[in-house]
């Protein structure tokens, strides 16, 4: 199902659109007030450092969730190994900048290429698997890639890589914003092309798709490579932004699960669902887990919250915000009945 966002009454739709645009404009422009020149001119500071980092993290997850969505949401292959692409992108930039002394900008151009090639190589055998088997095998690829990187001396082994620090939150915010824009745009374009319809056909019924002439292997691997390239860009930006990377930071399976949750709770298979999911979920996570003292309780709270979400809104929030269903107790009862024993 492609999202049809046009079921809402036009007036409501216009006001939602207006609110979104204002929020977006604020998020994009507010950071500019932190430039020295703007401060000297006496502009009020519309944002602060902590908020800045949080928004950049949110944008990073917008990229990751959107990239996952291309494989998991559009093509129907639930990949648990996308984090390997993120990690490889991060290590590509890390190795080129820290070991070879490349400028960051140049290294970032290579960041999507390495993961995409990796996706090409592993995609051919892995995408023959389905269901649990695909999920498990990709999970294995994610963990194993991280472990191999963790053992390679030139990549800093278990210590990790230290990149020269670049002190510009503004730069990384806009880079991540651009990457997020690129990811959403890519999904949007895919959804409107023959390629996208091919992917959706594979998700709905792969044999039927093959019969009507979709080159399923090519389509699946291409989707995998696009997702890998996008995740790699996010990883590359993250490496320089954080100026330190190691296996635990950039190959965390929990991050992979997080991007899936974002895409799924937002609405898998749509262009804007993963964005909504990433923004809402990452803000909740940052709010709950931000404080160090209560982090165990917040983990528990978060776990229960997400379990409840997965149980009650399996089609994602876009299902009712997009106007396909009405948000009501009846809706929850119905989704519960559909999936319960």
């Amino acid at each position: 199902m492609i999202a049809r966002e046009d079921r809402l009454p036009p007036r409501l739709r216009r006001s939602i659109f207006a609110v979104t645009m204002v929020a977006l404009a604020y998020v994009i422009l507010a950071p500019l007030t932190s430039i020295d020149a703007a401060q000297q001119a006496g502009l009020p500071l519309l944002t602060d450092k902590v908020w800045f980092r949080i928004v950049t993290t949110v944008l990073m997850f917008v990229v990751l969730a959107s990239a996952w969505n291309i494989v998991g949401g559009l093509t129907g292959y639930a990949s648990f190994g996308n984090i390997a692409f993120f990690g490889l992108g991060a290590y590509t930039v890390g190795a080129l900048v820290a070991n070879r002394g490349w400028p960051f900008g140049l290294a970032l151009l290579v960041a999507p290429i390495v993961p995409a090639l990796f996706a090409l190589v592993i995609g051919l055998p892995l995408l023959r698997l389905r269901g649990h088997y695909f999920a498990v095998a990709t999970l294995g690829v994610g963990v194993a890639t991280g472990e191999v990187v963790n053992n390679v001396g030139p990549l800093g082994a278990s210590t990790g890589l230290f990149l020269p620090i670049v002190r510009s939150d503004l730069l990384f915010f806009y880079l991540m914003l651009a990457a997020a824009g690129l990811a959403v745009l890519t999904t949007w374009v895919i959804l409107r092309t023959r390629f996208g319809y091919g992917l959706l056909a594979i998700r709905e019924n792969e044999e039927a798709a093959a019969v009507i002439g979709v080159n399923t292997n090519f389509y699946k691997v291409a989707a995998f490579c696009i997702a890998a390239a996008l995740s790699g860009i996010a990883g590359g930006i993250f490496a320089q932004w954080n100026s330190f990377i190691n296996q635990e930071l950039v190959f965390a399976v929990s991050d992979n699960v997080q991007m899936i949750l974002m895409a799924v709770l937002g609405g898998a298979g749509t262009a804007l669902g993963p964005v909504a999911g990433a923004v809402v979920l990452e803000l909740i996570i940052q709010t709950l887990a931000g404080g160090g003292s209560g982090s165990v309780y917040s983990q528990i709270g978060l776990g229960i919250l997400l379990a409840v979400c997965v149980i009650f809104i399996p089609r994602g929030v876009i299902d009712f915000f997009g106007g396909r269903s009405k948000l009501s107790l009846r809706y929850f009862r119905q989704t519960l009945r559909e999936t319960s024993a």
Partner: protein
Amino acid sequence: MSQFIQQVILGLLLGGVYVAVALGFSLVWGILNIVNLAHGALVIVGAYVTWALFTRWHIDPFLSLPVDALVLFVIGYALQRGVINRLIRAPLLFTFLLTFRLNLVIVSLLLLIFTADFRSVTTTYSGSGLELGNVIIPYIRVGGLAVALVLAGILWAILNRTRIGAAILAVGADRDAAQLVGVDLRHIYALTFAIGAAFAGVAGGIISTFQSITPTAGDPYTLQAFAVVILGGLGRVSATVAGGLAFGLIEVLGQSAPWLGSGYANAIAFVVLVVVLVVRPRGLLGRLA
């Protein structure tokens, strides 16, 4: 040569642990079609039960195994009946996500109760072993392997010799048909998961005898249970036993290869896993899906 024999023996003994861990995992996967990512956490709950009984009342870890089984049986039944049953008809991605979250919740609760300190169960016979020339066979690991094989026997007997087992297999074969002939699906789902959890608990008890435990110590075991089930194949107890032993052997021999090391344990596991998935998707002894 004796070095090699030693490695093979250690591999088989380690394989015994994997058999114990994977039995419950493969039961839940095979019957309920759930890849239970919280399995490792359940294993560690069992390990903590053994540890608590050992430090409080000095109960021998092997004697506390039935208690582990009982505690985890109750937890497992409640989890499935109360939570996982709500998603049993959802696409498999959702049970994946749900059990991953359950895993985090259980680990967090363990952190709250037991803190992150390393806990170990050290009995009087922990360090000793049977010496045959240069080859040493640690008693406690032999005990673990024996328990694992007994567990496999029990599971086989439950599935093939009892009415409950027949109902479980029927649900695994065709849920709707099983319901038509009068099987109470919710109860059997919960029971299957509870049995799986009970086996996980016993596996945890075994693990506590040779490894120090922390709340997160179970995560690798979930992944290894995957690999064992893939390697052996789904749908048969004997397949899990073969897969577990083979996997233990591969891991120990792989790590003793000169160009690798213990740092590659997971990588070895997953290379094996991916190769098996691609070359022989039904595993060594598994049934055709």
